[in-house]
């Protein structure tokens, strides 16, 4: 018991140091900070504007009105931002594999996956978080939900679950590089698929696709089911805490499976020959 407590403290200490270093790397190139503070909010402001234009041209999307879509978009961007902060490295795992960069992590006494994500923790993800929170608050006001203590707790639990689902998918896709020995830039594609499936109501897609997105690749749990439950949109799910905990459970399951897949891949890792 005491030993595991010490380990935990050690990890927290290292995490603190990593974040400190990440801040230092962040201020290395001042133009870069400016660039991120422009590019990420720009992306989401334009993305949100496009949803508004689509609603103006086409009316309600599958029975979802503008306020509900704003709510969905906001929650989706927040979980995207959190996954960017903690798990974005999964997108680049392929390059770490083919360039042999895992050697460094394997020789150290901490968990490889932990080191992989926290050595390169992406503080710039905050620039995604800010527009996400703004749109979410706007969506709360527009969709007319009552913000209570229970609501906030539900949102937080759902966000943790959603972030784990996204992170797990990145790890899973990245880990394929161990088996294929090649680096594919899945990042852009993953983001595009995620945008289409989490920023619009999933019920607009055909049944077969909804089935896949619910059970096989549980992207539906990132935003669609949680938001339906929060806004009381009928899709056979009960409201209250149940959906929040299902989301969290799905997140933990995806994370666990992705971690197992990563570890099995790591056994095949054989560095870069030189």
């Amino acid at each position: 018991m005491r030993k595991s407590f010490d380990t935990l403290l050690h990890y927290l200490d290292v995490t603190g140091q990593e974040i400190k270093m990440a801040f230092m790397t962040m201020i290395e190139y001042p133009s870069n900070i400016a660039g991120w503070f422009i590019s990420n909010p720009l992306q989401f402001i334009m993305g949100f504007a496009i949803i508004k234009f689509v609603v103006e041209s086409f009316g309600e999307i599958n029975g979802w009105n503008y306020g509900q879509l704003a709510f969905l978009y906001g929650l989706s961007v927040i979980s995207h931002a959190l996954s960017m902060i903690f798990f974005v490295q999964g997108w680049f795992m392929g390059w770490f594999v083919i360039e042999g960069d895992f050697d460094r992590y394997l020789t150290r006494p901490l968990g490889v996956l932990y080191q992989f994500f926290f050595t390169n923790i992406n503080i710039f993800g905050i620039t995604d978080l800010i527009p996400g929170v703004i749109v979410f608050i706007y969506g709360c006001a527009k969709s007319g939900v009552t913000v209570s203590f229970l609501f906030i707790v539900q949102v937080i639990i759902m966000l943790i679950g959603a972030t784990f689902i996204r992170g797990g998918i990145y790890i899973f896709l990245g880990s394929t590089s161990f088996h294929t020995r090649s680096a594919v830039d899945f990042g852009q594609y993953t983001q595009e698929i995620m945008d289409k499936t989490t920023m619009y109501p999933m019920s607009m897609y055909p049944e077969s696709m909804q089935f896949i997105l619910t059970y096989l690749i549980p992207i539906g749990w990132v935003s669609f089911y949680p938001v339906s439950s929060l806004l009381g949109i009928d899709n056979g799910l009960s409201g209250g805490m149940t959906t929040a905990f299902i989301t969290l459970a799905v997140g933990l399951l995806v994370m666990f499976l992705a971690g197992a897949f990563f570890n099995s891949g790591l056994k095949k890792y054989e560095s870069a020959g030189n």
């Binding site: 133009s31 590019s39 993305g47 394929t176 594609y189």
Partner: protein, 263 residues
């Protein structure tokens, strides 16, 4: 010229090395394409024509947009970025060949490989799973070819100009993202700007981005009459000239102020 052809050839061979990349890209692009097709089908439920375009044309638009996106992959911005950051720009500039000519040849090489590895499979999958993307009016074909070539050049020049900013900022990762999002959202590659409010689409048609994706795609699906298309192609050409002028100006300025990190 022979030097550039040699670079193109080397790049084609390089692109063929990793087989899995090819399958991975095709699978991901297929998923995106099919999702988009369903997306438009769902938006069009209960409506036959919105802003002069029906659902069939919109699906053709999506398939051709996915295929066109293969031609518009550039690596020049990352290439400049990494060669400035690592300092290998010094050795690159010593080569008896124009630096940007080399980057252009590399990009052309990768695209030639990608046409066979990605573009044709995507067109085939799209025709089988969504619908056969038939061109609206085959007589517009010469216009289509010219506008695609111009859109490739505009896209490349924008990428190169963003890449050149690395010479002053050293690290251009964030700027590359700015460029990526501008093109992704403002070019009509995902949602055509004719669905935007009038004032917004007027502003956007003055910018170069819509002439990268939307113009060739509109010609393909036959949106608008011929005079309108020719008018838009003129604007496209003007943008090509402006961007080329900017590019050559920046090129002559930038190579003078190279700073190599770490010596």
């Amino acid at each position: 010229m022979k030097k550039y052809l040699y670079i193109i050839k080397t790049q084609i061979i390089k692109s063929m090395t990793y087989e899995f990349n090819v399958y991975g890209n095709i699978i991901m692009q297929t998923i995106i394409m099919i999702t988009s097709a369903y997306f438009w089908r769902a938006l069009y439920t209960g409506r036959s024509v919105v802003d002069g375009v029906d659902v069939g044309s919109m699906q053709t638009y999506i398939i051709i947009s996915s295929a066109l996106s293969v031609l518009l992959i550039t690596n020049v911005e990352r290439r400049i970025g990494s060669s400035v950051e690592k300092g290998s720009v010094a050795t690159d500039m010593m080569k008896p060949i124009n630096l940007f000519g080399m980057f252009l040849a590399e990009d052309i090489g990768s695209i030639i490989a990608l046409i066979f590895q990605n573009m044709l499979p995507i067109l085939l999958i799209g025709s089988l799973m969504i619908k056969l993307p038939v061109m609206a009016d085959i007589r517009d074909l010469p216009m289509l070819v010219i506008s695609v070539i111009e859109s490739f050049l505009i896209n490349w020049l924008i990428a190169a100009l963003f890449g050149m900013m690395a010479f002053t900022t050293i690290n251009n990762n964030a700027l590359i993202q700015v460029k990526k999002h501008l093109i992704r959202l403002l070019s009509g590659s995902i949602i055509p700007i004719w669905f935007f409010p009038k004032s917004v689409s007027k502003v956007l048609s003055a910018l170069p981005f819509v002439y990268i994706y939307q113009l060739p795609l509109s010609i393909y699906i036959g949106k608008g009459d011929r005079t309108e298309m020719i008018f838009q192609m003129r604007i496209q050409f003007i943008w090509l000239v402006i961007l080329s002028a900017l590019f050559f100006y920046a090129q002559s300025r930038i190579t003078r102020k190279v700073m190599v990190q770490g010596g």
